[in-house]
């Protein structure tokens, strides 16, 4: 297995009692990336952004190197965590990119604190449900199948996965699943979000992999209808991890944010 976070620097902060590790790379105006429900597949895709921006990737509480707080039982607690982290880092206004679970989080943050988000990118965001295009309930998918469902080309993530069953890797994923269950077990989709998405008045880009098997690409249209002005970029030959699979997607985000 290779180091998923090579070329990033680490900082550790304590936010409302929770150990919060952030990775940073590059210089320039801040670009915050909110990761999905797992970040074991690394951040290699974000390095091109670091040529132009100061890329900041916080590990969410309960994920990767950040600490746990079982009292954080709803997404709102995570929105508040980022309000406090941005305050601590002196970030008044950021370019915000959110992927999957991080996409839901970015949307919820921007709905409530739009004045702090100059531009918003949602990559395969979780959170909405459309009966016409139901994706799988993540909790129902066996872990060994999830990894296969993330990408169209398995070689992209294979180097980050243990070759043989690995208790530590399994334990780390179970811990992140626990964090996710605290937030989403009862209500895997956010019924209230559609009511407030009209508040996303900042320039917004939706990015999707055409062959996303976790959150179907048709959901891009559901989001587009609810957000006043948004561009949509769909990439062929890519699954849910569209940023990992398609350099063109990474570049499109870069162009949109510049």
């Amino acid at each position: 297995m290779i180091d998923p976070f090579a070329q990033f620097q680490r900082e550790t902060h304590t936010i409302n009692g929770v150990k919060t590790v952030i990775l940073t790379a590059g210089r320039g105006e801040p670009l915050v990336f909110l990761h999905g429900a797992g970040i074991w597949h690394g951040l290699g895709f974000a390095l091109p952004w670091a040529e132009k921006f100061r890329v900041i990737v916080p590990f969410h509480p309960g994920f990767a190197e950040s600490g746990d707080d079982p009292a954080m039982t709803e997404m709102h607690d995570y929105v508040m965590h980022y309000v406090e982290l941005f305050d601590a880092l002196g970030l008044d206004k950021v370019r915000l990119v959110g992927f999957s679970l991080g996409g839901l989080l970015a949307a919820k943050f921007a709905v409530a604190h739009g004045h702090r988000v100059s531009r918003l990118v949602l990559v395969g965001p979780a959170g909405l449900h459309d009966k016409a295009h139901p994706g799988p309930d993540l909790f129902k998918v066996p872990p060994d199948q999830i990894t296969r469902m993330l990408v169209t080309n398995f070689d992209v993530i294979k180097p980050y996965l243990p070759e043989t069953p690995d208790l530590d890797f399994m334990g780390a994923r179970y811990r992140e699943g626990t964090t996710l269950a605290r937030l989403l077990w009862e209500h895997p989709w956010d019924k209230k979000l559609p009511r407030y998405l009209h508040r996303l008045t900042m320039p917004t880009l939706l990015v999707w992999g055409e062959d996303d098997r976790l959150i179907p690409v048709q959901m891009a249209e559901t989001w587009r209808r609810l957000i006043p002005k948004t561009e949509v970029a769909i990439f062929k030959g890519a699954g849910h991890l569209v940023l990992d699979e398609k350099r063109e997607a990474v570049d499109a985000v870069q162009r949109f944010l510049s």
Binding site: P70, T73, F139, P142, P143, L167, D168, M170, G171, A172, Y174, R175, G177, T178, L180, A181, R182, W185, E186
Partner: protein
């Protein structure tokens, strides 16, 4: 042993007429299709199983035990209180142990009421356990496994408040708000029926039992682990100011008695095999929904997962677990040894094993009741008189 010894007959009431291709299903729990449940067969089985519980009472077992599972062929007792209510009028002497409904799967006031009803119906013969419930139950019920342990503590707190304080009272918790906690009826026994925690040895659950001074019984753990757990519970309970009596540490044993050791093994083995290979068969994912276990427990259990569910070797199994199969002499000897080692005088006898047919259950219960129970009771009582002299 300190004068008494107690024997419960535990029934799981399995649904056994499975399709021929059942081995193709990785789990007989959670998602095993319920189209395989035939209510006519179910009716016949209920009739039969109820008669076996009644037989245990007639033969002199001290208690009959039932418990709760969902979405599974392992058990037809999604609502064990209904079974308890059905047998209470037919059972003259034995206690009725509902061990039990996971409090997380019902409203706590409702469970306090149901148990109080059973206690009143049976004139104070109810005993209850408060299990967390297996991981599988959290896939079948709309309850978050990640907060299950906190919810269990709160549920038990509410039930005990409902039973021990004159109502109406109020309760403002993290999970439940009661403005008028005032359940009718109240339990027959004072202050309330004897309570146990049953579990599979999670440190959090053991600690909960110790703190409350409840009995504790671990299921599906090895002998070595069960002994450790009994030591831990006695020590921790003492540190919380409770003295745990031997009868508060029921020991689950699979027992089968026949004329000879060979005959006992020959008659029982296929059903024990069915129990471990089929009835208990499920997936690691169903066993441990997210947040149900601590990460340490998840890793510890994953490391020994192969031994927990599925693989079958009777000798290996008997080395590791409480399985007494043989002549009455052999079973007596075995149980007395475990009684010493485990510091208990309370046996929860799994005497209707897996897909065992009625005649074997009847034979087993008869031989156990005729040849095992009286000898162990006599010896226990003799030992205690000898100790007194």
């Amino acid at each position: 042993m300190n004068g008494t010894v107690r024997f419960n007959f535990m029934h799981f009431m399995p649904y056994v007429p499975l399709p021929e291709n059942q081995k193709e299903f990785s789990s007989l729990w959670v998602d095993f299709p319920n189209k395989f449940y035939d209510p006519e067969r179910g009716h016949q089985l209920y009739q039969r199983y109820l008669s076996e519980l009644v037989l245990a009472d007639r033969l002199g077992f001290d208690a009959v035990n039932v418990n709760e599972h969902h979405n599974t062929a392992y058990s037809m007792m999604a609502a064990p209180n209904l079974i308890a209510a059905a047998v209470i009028p037919q059972i003259r002497r034995a206690k009725i142990c509902v061990w039990g409904t996971p409090p997380n799967l019902e409203y706590p006031n409702r469970l306090a009421e149901e148990y109080a009803m059973l206690d009143v119906l049976s004139q104070g013969r109810l005993e209850v356990a408060f299990p967390l419930g297996t991981g599988m139950e959290y896939w079948a019920n709309p309850v978050n496994p990640a907060t299950a342990r906190e919810r269990l503590r709160e549920s038990i707190d509410i039930i005990l408040q409902a039973w021990t304080q004159d109502g109406p009272t109020s309760y403002y918790g993290d999970f439940y708000t009661y403005r008028y906690l005032n359940p009718w009826p109240r339990p027959y026994q004072k202050p309330h029926p004897p309570c146990y925690i049953v579990g599979t040895g999670s440190p959090e659950t053991v600690e909960l039992a110790a703190k409350l001074g409840f009995g504790y019984s671990a299921t599906f753990v090895t002998k070595k682990r069960a002994r450790e757990l009994n030591e831990i519970i006695r020590r921790r309970a003492a540190e919380h100011g409770h003295h745990i009596r031997p009868e508060q540490l029921p020991l689950g044993v699979i027992a089968y008695v026949a004329e000879t050791k060979e005959k006992a093994e020959q008659e029982a083995i296929e059903h024990i095999r069915y129990f471990f290979e089929d009835a208990l068969r499920t997936t690691p994912r169903f066993l441990a929904p997210p947040g149900y276990l601590s990460v340490d427990q998840l890793k510890a259990r994953a490391a020994m997962a192969d031994k927990m569910h599925g693989k079958f070797d009777l000798d290996e199994l008997s080395d590791a677990r409480f399985i007494a199969i043989g002549t009455a002499d052999q079973v007596v000897e075995q149980l007395e040894q475990w009684s010493e080692e485990m510091g208990t005088n309370h046996f929860n006898v799994l005497g209707a094993i897996g897909n065992m047919p009625h005649w074997k259950v009847v034979k087993n219960l008869n031989l156990f009741a005729q040849d095992v129970m009286p000898r162990m009771r006599a010896r226990a009582s003799h030992d205690s008189r000898a100790a007194a002299e």
